[in-house]
Symmetry: C2
Subunit: 482 residues, 2 copies
């Protein structure tokens, strides 16, 4: 762990700007096989020397290549969001401030070992977003205060039990409180907001209740601990809020807009590729830039955690203190539902492209295709409009207009049918349902394949008859629906 | 926080088994309005007394009711998974063991304040699953060791800088290491496995590097810290592994099977309700037990974290040390894809049910319906079979057989069409695509509504013309596709 963090930042400067190996050197190294190099070396030295001399640069080259890959990866992480670099520097800054203060200030020497709580607090409390830092810092401060007071009380109460009763009573108190507090973490609301506070509460209570100091000393200790924790939390908050702050609320705001944009971008691409004038039957699977919509499907955890942190943040920029963060979660949920719909459509279209399509050029087909193209185009525009409306915090009714146009196209398709044949509608509804169910059936195949793979690797029990027949691997089922 | 954890477990015994208020008392209290009670009380006392006397029981009753609700909720959490109760007791046990040991053992008194690291370690390291505890414990132990050694080195190096140079050099070291280590947490692989280790690494390095002890004292301190951390980690591991262990791997195994079962259960219900002989058009939305499949869509985060912990666990039961946990993630991914498909089908069917359906009784429609019913039934059986196959770790080829039957039904639908009309296939493909796109368009409406609500609450900027017209709220668009 240390090695990589130590070496990579050094490499990322050297290697990326002026590659350690020139491209010619690399090509040479790659083209020369191990055998060839062994032969080359054996001409000049002993056998033992050969092994060492020829493997050593190979190993170095191999690890250099891996390090280069890692450096590129790390550089990409920093480039994707430069605030990550700033955050790392901020943590360094806050820690250095507290450490130097601790090291230099004679006041700290007087306070003794409890001063390390300040350093500890900075390391543990400093989070990427302001909301995260605030949430952890306040949780830590209040939990310490509350648990300290209760610990003092428990200590006082246990002292009434006499010399024999005291440790027993203290044990009972610690056991009960720890068990209750731990159980409270299973309540989802507690878990989301006060999880860290509960940990610190148990910690401080145990430390204060069990410490064998006299009461006056305990109060002094509690005072010291509180003041050092306060120093740590204040340092974190100042660094977090006033030096390039990263607001969880703003991130959530941008994430929700970006997710809408991803869907819009995919639909735009699909409209051009599958329903456009070119009507290419090239699969969309290959176009990786269009596949980013799939990340929307798994965005719930990120959104939840950002919304949770955002609630702790004070008003900033366009966001007031009581900004309706819950609404972002609501938008996120309906966006995911839409992404699911897109996933179903995408799967259907890509299986259509794989199967043989009839080429009867029907007037009906063309009309439906045109309507679909319009629906998709307008939907994409509506989504993009909503995203930019959120991003700029500027309402526009254009999204509604685009939706109205998409709806008009949808109704046009519906209207096509009864004109042709009154019973065709029944056929269409049945056919659509059947298509969707067929898609569902198709989904089962990869599940079976995956479970099969598991059963083979883990050696699931086999039924008697197949074991008798000597069938080691389960029958591999591949079912194609044409 | 403390109040609730303190009081609720007491209440949960009293209130749930023998309700504090009898049902008659409750009805009486609910039926008597505040006004009536004010009037009743004013007949016997002064005005001031009235306010106090009448509001006081109301407030108490109100908070009692809230506490009762909370107690019921907490009881449900414990009942849903009794291992949670055991876990809470285990944390209490581990903490009491370490605390009492610390309090009673004279050896500990000799070691001074560094002994509290043992208590601290237990509180921070003890996790719900064995894998979680192991991951945190090993991260903590190794990070402490590594950072301690590096800190000593840094201290030694800085001492060469003389009296003036030492604090500056130390500051630079702490800054660089903290910044680098923090940045490494943005690498996804680091974040997933060694996040806690990096925190402890920064923490220990800062503490050791900055502490103003002489070197011999530092080594003594490092030894003490390591031994106390080891005591804490060992206590946690023993309690976690040998007293009612909760294995993350087993949980992942069961979760993956349960998710397959949820899908199977929904499909079975849907088959009976929508495609069965009754063919009720009652919406599935109301049947909450069927809606549990929706949780499958958001199960990725839980699966990832369980798989991550499972990798740390030693072999147990049916699971070897190198059990292919990645395969569970793969099964999870294809299961979610299937859930998406089900979501699309469910949405389509429930909108169909809401709209007017034509009642032309077509032979074709009935045949498709029957085929769909069979597909859904067989798919549901295949999924249930896969779930029980995973759960029992017993391979059966029945799932493949069910899938084959579902596929046969799907092909039967396809075969129906050309017999009737050769160009109908084109119509059907177009129609299905159009239906799916229409579904997509329908998804946009809730998104627009949600963004609209946000724009109203947060007061997004309005375009000039609408502000002039005095339109305060944005035009609410509701678009129905019939």
């Amino acid at each position: 762990m240390l090695l990589t963090t130590h070496i990579i930042p050094l490499l990322s400067n050297k290697q990326i700007q002026g590659n350690i190996f020139s491209s010619e050197q690399k090509t040479l190294l790659q083209n020369t096989s191990i055998k060839q190099r062994l032969a080359m070396d054996s001409a000049v030295g002993t056998n033992e020397k050969v092994c060492f001399n020829s493997w050593c640069p190979l190993l170095i080259f191999d690890s250099m290549q891996k390090l280069e890959e890692l450096a590129l990866k790390i550089r990409k992480i920093g480039k994707d969001d430069p605030r990550r670099v700033f955050h790392s520097l901020k943590v360094g800054l806050a820690l250095t401030l507290v450490s130097i203060f601790y090291y230099v200030n004679p006041l700290f020497h007087g306070l003794g070992t409890s001063t390390m709580w300040a350093v500890l607090t900075v390391v543990v409390v400093m989070e990427y977003t302001v909301g995260g830092t605030l949430s952890k810092g306040l949780n830590r401060a209040f939990a310490t205060l509350l648990a300290g007071a209760l610990g003092l009380g428990a200590n006082h109460l246990a002292a009434l039990g006499g010399d024999k009763g005291e440790p027993i009573l203290l044990g009972v108190f610690v056991f009960m409180l720890a068990a209750m507090a731990t159980f409270s973490r299973f309540v989802p609301e507690m878990k989301a907001r006060y999880d860290y506070g509960v940990t610190i509460f148990i910690l401080t209570f145990s430390l204060v209740a069990v410490s064998s100091y006299r009461e006056e000393e305990l109060i002094k200790l509690a005072y010291r601990r509180l003041s050092t924790v306060a120093i740590g939390v204040t340092t974190c908050l100042c660094t977090s809020m006033f030096v390039f702050p990263v607001w969880a609320g703003e991130d959530l705001h941008m994430l929700v807009a970006a997710n809408l944009d991803k869907l819009a971008c995919f639909l735009e691409g699909m409209g051009v590729e599958c329903f456009g004038e070119k009507m290419e039957s090239g699969s969309l699977e290959g176009k990786s830039f269009l596949q980013s919509y799939k990340t929307v499907l798994n965005s719930k955890a990120t959104e939840d955690s950002l919304a949770n942190f955002a609630r702790w943040e004070p008003g900033h920029g366009h966001f007031g203190f009581r900004h309706p963060w819950n609404l972002y979660l609501k938008i996120g949920a309906v966006t995911r539902h839409c992404a699911c719909s897109i996933e179903a459509l995408n799967t259907y279209i890509s299986t259509l492209e794989q199967s043989h399509q009839t080429t009867t050029d029907l007037e009906f087909k063309q009309m439906v295709q045109a309507a679909c193209a319009e629906m998709i185009k307008e939907t994409s525009k509506a989504l993009a409009e909503l995203a930019s409306s959120i991003r700029g915090m500027k309402w526009s009714s254009t999204a509604g207009k685009h939706l109205a146009m998409a709806t008009e196209a949808a109704n046009r398709v519906k209207a096509l049918v009864p004109a042709k044949n009154s019973t065709l509608l029944d056929v269409l509804i049945s056919a659509t349902t059947a298509s969707l169910v067929t898609e569902l059936v198709r989904c089962i195949n990869p599940i079976i394949t995956a479970v099969e793979e598991l059963s083979r690797l883990v050696e699931f029990k086999r039924p008697e008859h197949s074991r008798k027949a000597g069938a080691e691997s389960p029958p591999h089922v591949v079912i194609a629906i044409d």
